[in-house]
Symmetry: C2
Subunit: 171 residues, 2 copies
Amino acid sequence: MLEHEWRKKATVTRAPSSDAPENTVNAWKFPGGLSNPGEDIGDTAVREVFEETGIKSEFKSILSVRQQHRHPGAFGKSDMYIICRLEPSSFTISFCQQECLRCEWMDLDELARTKHATPITSNVAKLLRYGYREGFDKIDITMREFPAVYAGLFYKLYHRELPESYRNITG
Amino acid sequence: MLEHEWRKKATVTRAPSSDAPENTVNAWKFPGGLSNPGEDIGDTAVREVFEETGIKSEFKSILSVRQQHRHPGAFGKSDMYIICRLEPSSFTISFCQQECLRCEWMDLDELARTKHATPITSNVAKLLRYGYREGFDKIDITMREFPAVYAGLFYKLYHRELPESYRNITG
């Protein structure tokens, strides 16, 4: 059931009143937004998806990282945009009308094919389509948590799943 | 030859005069450092490896991303630490004596096994060992460049390699 639903993906379009450039208005894109200070990557994704679409979900993996410099609206800093794979636990859309014109579950093939999507959205749709057909382990960058050297703190490390046989080295 | 050399990895230890916490002093770690403003991830890695070790190299992939909050020395901000796989084109070490006590090419098995390494170093050594034995395509997060919607700008997108058959969708 969840796997079936993963052929679809909540997407939003920018409202024309936003300050986005012309060719990203009315383009399909994934929900998302800025991290709060001190917020984990996955928590930002889950929060923003809920705020924009009303869909509840759980963080599964990082799919892609974009680094962009001189990006408008990034406060004069270089910008890291991180795309996560989430598993939905609710399916009824109730979307933010300030931020979105439309919000729909969409077939991945259609999203990968349409010209009415930002290039990064098309690209990630193709990546998801690959994962959906051949296994998400092909595309997932998964998370492990480690204690930091600073007492009481933890950090999250994202990398390709390491098979059990490589986690412990003997002899 | 290069693959053989990839069983080894330039590593450095922190000088005891640095302000690192006690248990990271004298621990083996990979060379690295802070990005300059506007600098690409791979360019930072190549530059820092050269500055700390004298080794020339080329960026191949991202291996791992760490997100840490309240990290000392991160200017009160959350910290993203990105570990890259580089291919060396020179092999003679000439290391920075201000930053390192020792700098050596080290066998990956030994680096994965020693207790004298930071946890993240041990973990990435295990990941590299997996990639070295079963193919770097198992662990690599590779880069593609795209034109941004803003005229004349480009961005870099990092994700798992997408097979050719999934890049173009027909019908």
